[in-house]
Amino acid sequence: MRRALKSVFERIDRFFDIAFTPAWNPMQQLGALGWFFYWIVIVSGIYLYIFFDTGITQAYHSVEYLTHEQWYAGGIMRSLHRYASDALVVVVFLHLLREYVLDRFRGPRWFAWVSGMVLLWLLYVSGISGYWVVWDKLAQYVAIATTEWFDSLRIFGKPIARNFLNEASLSGRFFTLLIFIHIAAPLMLLFGMWLHIQRHMHPKVTPPRGLAAGCLVTLFILSLWFPALSQGPADLDKVPGIISLDWFYLFIYPLLDKYSGAIIWAAVAGGTLLLSLLPWLPARRQSEVAVVHLDNCNGCARCVADCPYSAITMVPRTDGLPFEQQAAVNPVLCLSCGICSGACPSASPFRRRTALIPGVELPAFPIQAVKDMVLSKTQDLAGNNRVLIFNCEHGLDLTSAPVKNIAQITLPCIGMLPPAMIDFTISRKYADGVFIAGCREHDCNYRLGNEWMQQRLARKRDPYLRERVPAERLAQCWAGVSGYKQGLSELSRFQEQLAGLAPTARQSPEERLRDGNKTECANA
């Protein structure tokens, strides 16, 4: 099921990539779009509140004034308020489904998943209470159905639905409480959203400008073309028979007419509980978290800057070496992506005097093992189009590619690859070219591995790829799992390009032995 959904998501992604470019792809900006729609709701809400009369009898008229008399500002703001709220629901559910399908909710990511469940509730409280305060026929229906639903919990001394028995029983104080809820819940939602991204370094909270502009213009045109309107003033002496529901927020209400409130409570509470427990059903099998080798850590903090999950912090030095700080890994937050070892300046395969142990690395996937694989996997390659592929285990896999003269080293994340390893492979002539294959662009399984790698290769981020690495001997392909055809075609083209270049001398067995032995000596 999840595999099928993953394939659907990838196809949709590719479709959006063509129309929007990977950088603007809305499917990869769902969280950021959520923030964007939230801010539209808040700004439009503040404007509406300036003109809104909180009296129960005046509320409807003040909203009508905004909608009709002040259609050019208040009316548009009201419609933006509604449509941005609805758009928020759409992106939130897509975001949830996408993270589930791509298996990005287990392990240390449970926090974002579980806090997301709380956010869902707050979103619905915010949205439903908003429909209430207009005090039209829909509000009347929502008010009565909600209070009756809460009464089914039997936690109130007297049923709170009695507040809406008829016009005579209507209490302005109760209405004021609802307005307070409609202001407090979105504020709590904002706090929750902040908490939701706390474990993320460089969280995406603003979509690309072009995409944001496109969404805003769409909502604006929609507001003009199809303005949000009230459904006539509430009249508690009459039951609203036929009503237009906002199905994004109010889909549960028709169920309340069909099933008892207790059953619906059980369903939503059970559903929330089940979703919240998903990260542990089953729990993620995670390899050992990154470890710091103090002998090789000079406290440069590049790993801290590159860790996508804020799992590394700098702490005062404990080993007496003449550095102020040292890196420390928080095992609770570490996802074992290895991006930290790719960022470590001491992860250089050129090291001769000491063993190849960087300041920080994955115990299950040490940098020495990567170097060893470079030596061993390139051994049987021959000719002048020898290609060593470094790929991400969540990205493009070219193992079965019907292409000769290639070898592939699969890493937990492409961001784990130190640029010096590319330099080493090419300058020591272990291959004629290096092919980097990661996750799809802007869709790194570990959020920032692609981006950091691209910046390192472009010499914009430490550790830089050395200038001496010829650009024509390096290729990058960010095609992801579903981009096999694209990857294959780019690989073939790259090999053709390499064949056209001046041949590089292949490493002699003696030279290979020297590289290998020196490491072994150093390790010993």
Partner: protein
């Protein structure tokens, strides 16, 4: 791809998104109550009589109590359940024995129910028993009412105003 073509390609996505929002924010309409029906709401909250009558303690019984607890009259807090019946044109619409609220069963008995009925002229009868009487009712009201479609007709109860009231 030229930027203008890309923007043209994006238009259908924005349009589809706008249509989705426009449609599902209003449609399909939902019929909460048949337009030909009216709704009768029964809402009452009333405390039944005490289950046991208060009795005056004898001097001996008083002497057994601590000095600060010596109240001459002892009353059990527990109250009786209410028996409520609603008839519509001699058809029983609702009948229930309502337990008093509270751990000691000393609170009010409460009910809130709604009954969709066909609009038109009906005889509505409401009865309530809150005492020890084995038969009959302590409060009763019967009235011929004309319910218009979608009317919200409330059957309420207030002991201070004589019992049931129809609104």
């Amino acid at each position: 791809m030229p930027e203008i073509w890309r923007m043209m390609l994006q238009l259908p996505f924005y349009l589809a998104f706008a249509l989705l929002l426009a449609y599902l924010s209003q449609q399909p309409v939902y019929q909460h109550l048949d337009p030909e029906n009216a709704l009768i709401k029964l809402s009452l909250s009333h405390a039944g009589q005490h289950k046991e009558e208060c009795h005056r303690l004898t001097p001996e019984e008083l002497a057994e109590l601590a000095p600060n607890m010596r109240k001459p009259i002892s009353c059990n807090r527990e109250r009786l359940s209410l028996l409520v019946e609603i008839f519509l044109d001699d058809n029983l619409l609702y009948r229930a024995s309502l337990q008093p609220a509270g751990l000691s069963r000393d609170g009010e008995s409460t009910v809130y129910k709604r009954f969709p009925v066909t609009a038109g002229t009906h005889t509505i009868t409401a009865r309530l028993r809150d005492s020890h009487r084995p038969e009959g009712f302590d409060y009763e009201r019967s009235e011929v009412v004309s319910l218009f479609p979608q009317q919200n007709f409330v059957v309420g109860f207030n002991v201070d105003t004589g019992g049931f009231h129809f609104l």
